[in-house]
Symmetry: C2
Subunit: 516 residues, 2 copies
């Protein structure tokens, strides 16, 4: 039974926790529907097809439980279908009631019973302990992100390959554009457009629901793998007009996206990629977008913005975290202190071999950058831009950074190794989660707030011995870590206070102390 058939049948559907293409249906106005915590509750109503429902009709719903009320915007999904979505964050029965400027959509009531989340569903991610992140269920979240800007606009086959790479890879966040992309190695026509398109012209009055249904299917696929979807709302790599839409269309687009996607727990909002390259926008525009996202999203998903040359002022209240394009890792401590937010070096160049300076880091250097971020108490971001020699002149070459596909680099495995290490030692004990750099920053050392674990990364230093200064009155075991070979070797003995340890005299190694 497809959506059209459901609508014909006059029933509403609940689409909760669905994997791609899978759909559970329930009768409309059932007394109470069951949905797990932080999943998407969806109610579909039949309404008018006449005129332009996208502009003429508004639909809202209020979800209530006890003294709490959460209001969500509905949206038109085409073919007379109007949808409200809701992500319950509290167990128990929620009641809802709709409002609309159309009688058929007004005053609809219903209930849902929010049940305990299934294993693997940790809820949305938010800021924790000032500079770090955690899932809503308390599980720490350490972002190890990658970038596949336009993966959702590729062939189905390629998208499936991307999902498989993500499933088996080390990444738990992906930066991806909502709009299609036009750029170096990206000059194809996307399979769908976000607006009705007449020849070379967009009709901004009409969204193309299929476009958005497809994106949300991909968000759902990512959610099923616990990969956060860091959605890029605007970007300048455009060929079709989406970087210079009328103000009113920009705003309507944002409202529509939020109404559709916000109930997915793994959504993050990035106002833009390289916002400062979008010459038709001014700072008032960016302030307005920030306000719309902040005020409209009922769940306060994480919000940031990405720049090219002009660093954004991430101390701005609307930003939940900084997502910088930079590789000045020595500034990380200063930025953390100034912004008092988590800092993610979302784009610190990519592993690859292409012409562009930002796209040809060695795997060693990409790996190193994740370690530098970790010991600075911030987070790195991966991307991959390998082109085969035979494909250099082929504009259709598939590069992970944009198209997804296969991961060819040497860094992902090592990034996964670091992620495992961080998840193991970055969340133990009773202190704050994550690492805080040890000041003054001699070498690169960071510790868990309660000294449960201390991590030293030696970067290009190769001491053959080192006098560590550990807390007195506690004993630590030590592990010698090779981030490239991905080996961990226990060091004999227990250590406390000033401790001289013989090291291998080789660069790019690390030592982890764990309190016993």
């Amino acid at each position: 039974m497809n959506r059209r058939e459901i609508l014909k049948a006059g029933s509403a559907v609940l689409v909760g926790g669905m994997a791609a293409g899978e759909m559970k249906t329930v009768a409309a106005n059932a007394a109470s529907k069951t949905i797990e915590r932080w999943d998407v509750f969806e109610e579909v109503f039949a309404g008018p097809k006449e005129g332009n429902p996208f502009k003429d009709v508004w639909l809202k719903a209020a979800f209530r439980k006890g003294n709490r009320e959460i209001r969500v915007d509905g949206f038109y999904d085409g073919n007379g279908a109007y949808i409200i979505r809701f992500m319950p964050d509290e167990l128990g029965v929620w009641a809802f009631e709709t409002d609309s400027n159309v009688a058929a959509l007004k005053g609809k009531k219903g209930k849902l019973d929010c049940t305990a989340p299934q294993k693997g569903n940790h809820g949305p991610v938010s800021v924790r302990d000032t500079h770090h992140f955690g899932y809503a269920d308390g599980t720490p979240y350490f972002p190890f992100g990658t970038t596949c800007y336009a993966w959702a606009h590729q062939t189905e086959e390629l998208q499936k390959q991307t999902l498989e790479s993500l499933r088996t890879g080390p990444f738990n966040k992906i930066r991806m554009c909502i709009f299609p992309k036009w750029y170096q190695y990206n000059h194809g026509t996307p399979p769908r457009f976000p607006f009705v398109r007449n020849g070379e012209t967009n009709d901004y009055s009409y969204f193309n629901p299929k476009f958005f249904q497809h994106i949300e299917q991909r968000i759902g696929d990512l959610r099923a793998m616990n990969v956060e979807a860091d959605l890029i709302l605007f970007h300048p790599y455009d060929h079709w007009g989406f970087q210079e839409m009328p103000t009113e269309v920009d705003d309507r687009y944002l409202m529509y996206v939020i109404a559709r996607f916000a109930a997915y727990r793994n959504v993050w909002w990035s106002l833009a990629n390289e916002f400062d390259l979008m010459r038709k926008k001014n700072s008032a525009d960016w302030d307005r977008y920030a306000r719309i996202v902040t005020e409209t999203d009922p769940y306060a998903h994480l919000r940031s913005i990405h720049y090219s040359k002009a660093p954004y002022d991430y101390s701005r209240v609307w930003c939940t975290h900084a997502g910088v394009q930079d590789y000045a890792f020595d500034k990380a401590a200063e930025w953390r202190a100034e912004w008092r937010k988590p800092v993610i070096f979302d784009e610190c160049m990519y592993e690859g071999n292409i012409n562009s300076r930002w796209g040809n880091l060695s795997g060693e250097e990409m790996t190193r950058r994740f370690w530098l971020c970790t010991v600075a108490g911030v987070y790195g971001g991966h991307g991959e831009t390998y082109v085969r020699e035979s494909d250099i002149e082929n504009d259709k070459a598939v590069l992970w950074w944009s198209h997804g596909g296969l991961l060819n680099g040497t860094s992902p495995k090592r990034i996964g190794f670091l992620r495992n290490l961080l998840e193991e030692i970055g969340a133990v004990g009773g202190g704050r989660i994550g690492f805080e750099a040890i000041e003054p920053v001699y070498y690169m050392a960071a510790k868990r707030s309660g000294n449960e674990a201390i991590l030293w990364f030696f970067d290009f230093h190769q001491p053959s011995y080192y006098d560590f200064t550990l807390p007195e009155g506690a004993k630590f075991k030590a592990e010698w870590v090779d981030p490239w070979e991905m080996t961990i070797r226990a060091v004999d003995g227990l250590f406390s206070g000033k401790s001289r340890i013989k090291l291998a005299g080789k660069p790019y190694r690390a030592i982890v102390f764990k309190r016993v």
Copy 2:
């Protein structure tokens, strides 16, 4: 015939162009003595031994040729010997006449005939083309310096080994302390002290001429190998009081050093190592030292100062160049522009394996730093701090950075390779010598001012192809350089304008374009 014997014989000596231990003698008051340009002319006079000649007697001389007059200070060398030294910079006959507050040293006259320099004698180094250096005879000088702070205070055997390492090594400048050193791995008693020493007390009224004779012998040894002696006048690694002498002694020491050493063409003055760690000195002291050196040195040898944490303002007029302790290579362009002087990263950490953060770079990283400096239009500085595992706890271990001895690292050979490359392509054509960074700094590229040569260093980038933008209307041949393997491979073809070249997709490589 030693100096004492000469003095007994009542004759003065000319010590010109001597290698260590070698000495030519001529009769006193000979009508004209022959000395090659930029060599040390020396005249020794017998004078009073009574009282304290170091404080009671002054001796000066004026050297005249045509309308030029160069005044030099003489000095007391002990045992009734008073010496004036002079480095003639112009061919032909120079006349001199002494002045003194002692009759026996006043009004002494003589002549010298300055002849053409022998092969290998290029004269002193000075600033050339704002950001670079050249010898007085026009030969470009590219500083490739190393550091052996206390090498002149070691055993004779070790000093000979150091000289042999320098003779066969890649370095043409050495940073060395005049005062002995007390520091990590440096806690021995030096064979000589600069002042008469009674037990644990210095008698600052009396210099120890043997100490200074020894230093100048080493300066002469370096000069014979065309290694510039970057003399560190003060430093804080002290155990004997030299870092906190009375003001009057500081000043007298500087005058004495200049009177003795300035005639050596290979002398540079560094007011201090880590001046900001000398807590007994204030900025007025440093200003006074700078003034004394500037006003007293008749030859205007190169002058700078080295800091620990507090960057010096190298825009100060007295500095001829900046000698920074830093590794912020991305600031090099800014500093060059601001200071309008050559910038040498004299201490950008050392290759080694010791505990200290500044002393355990890998050889790869040390090599890389020289390349980064080169393409930024500045210069690097080497040092080496390898300790054998069996010597870690042995305070008498020999580390090149302080003691000299053998070079054990992997970077010197590669630094030599770069020096050869720079000397080959950094001086061709009619433009300014040395490289100027190409702005904006994408990758790391620098060119000779007349586009005679363009150098690209790819650092941790590994493009498999690159679109170079070369000057139109000129043709270039290209060479693919591996700085680690020290290989140079010609790239087929001639290039002009925008030129795509396939590269190896490996990091830390370079390309040199040479105009044909």
